[in-house]
């Protein structure tokens, strides 16, 4: 079974045409991979569908805008994958 990271990498490569070998766990989706907000909606759609979750993008954005969180907490891929795993676990609970 593919790891969350592998699945997210597959989604990013298919959605944004970004070479697989440039995507690392420590990559920042926006700052390093250059994914813009519109492309990120396609990624969010695929992640929501694949994992059966609803990523709280609006809440994350609000937290960043209010200085309560950094973009790294949500958009560095290893952190994003942790958030996804948490959402999946919460749904199963």
């Amino acid at each position: 079974m593919a790891s969350t990271f592998d699945t997210v990498v597959n989604i990013i490569t298919e959605t944004c045409d970004i070479p697989r070998d440039t995507i690392k766990p420590e990559s920042h989706a926006i700052n390093d991979l250059g994914i813009d907000s519109l492309d990120f909606l396609d990624i969010a759609f695929a992640i929501d569908k694949t994992f059966g979750i609803k990523m709280p993008l609006e809440q994350w954005t609000q937290e960043v805008n209010e200085g309560k969180a950094t973009t790294e907490q949500y958009f560095v891929l290893q952190n994003l994958c942790t958030r996804i795993d948490e959402l999946v676990a919460a749904k199963r609970a």
Binding site: L38, L41, D42, A44, F45, D48, K49, K54, M55, P56, L57, E58, Q59, T61
Partner: protein
């Protein structure tokens, strides 16, 4: 259809908040300055306006599903296909279904039929945000009433 006001949907035929679908009627006007340029002597409904019909039908569905609390703004079309010419006076049936309601965005699948035949289809992405101001929301509710949006179906699902 009032092209000059970009109000393309004439009437909501059916809104199903459980099945998350909508059907709307849009009648292409017989005369419009649009047809003087598109094209002289060969009037055709512009493809971008057909896309807008599908977007507006989808938009009414999204507004209905969120109980007129949030406004969808067009963000992207995917795999748009314009399959047949549409001409002045034709009655269009726009159909849309919700593919996904995410956090701050929504995806729909839409098509237009003329006499039961599909003439175009696409998938659409919307950003969905709170109404920027109460007047905006009120104006949307006014338009909803004018196009017979079935307000009684809200808060159903």
């Amino acid at each position: 259809m009032r092209l000059e006001y970009f109000r393309l949907i004439d009437r909501i035929l059916e809104f199903d908040p459980v099945g998350r679908t909508i059907q709307a009627e849009a009648i292409v006007p017989t005369q419009s300055t649009v047809f003087e340029g598109h094209f002289p002597g060969y009037p055709l409904m512009p493809g971008v306006l057909l896309l807008e019909v599908m977007a507006q039908a989808s938009g009414w569905m999204i507004i209905g599903l969120n109980g007129f609390t949030r406004m969808p703004f067009l963000a992207a079309f995917k795999e748009a296909k314009l399959r047949s010419f549409v001409t002045p006076g034709q009655s269009l049936t726009a159909k849309a279904e919700l593919l996904h309601e995410g956090s701050g965005y929504a995806m729909t699948k839409a098509e237009i039929q003329v006499d039961g035949k599909r003439v175009c289809n696409t998938e659409i992405t919307f950003r969905v945000v709170d109404f920027p101001n109460p007047a905006f929301r009120a104006s949307m509710e006014e338009v909803a009433a004018a196009i017979a949006f079935p307000m009684e179906t809200l808060n159903h699902g």
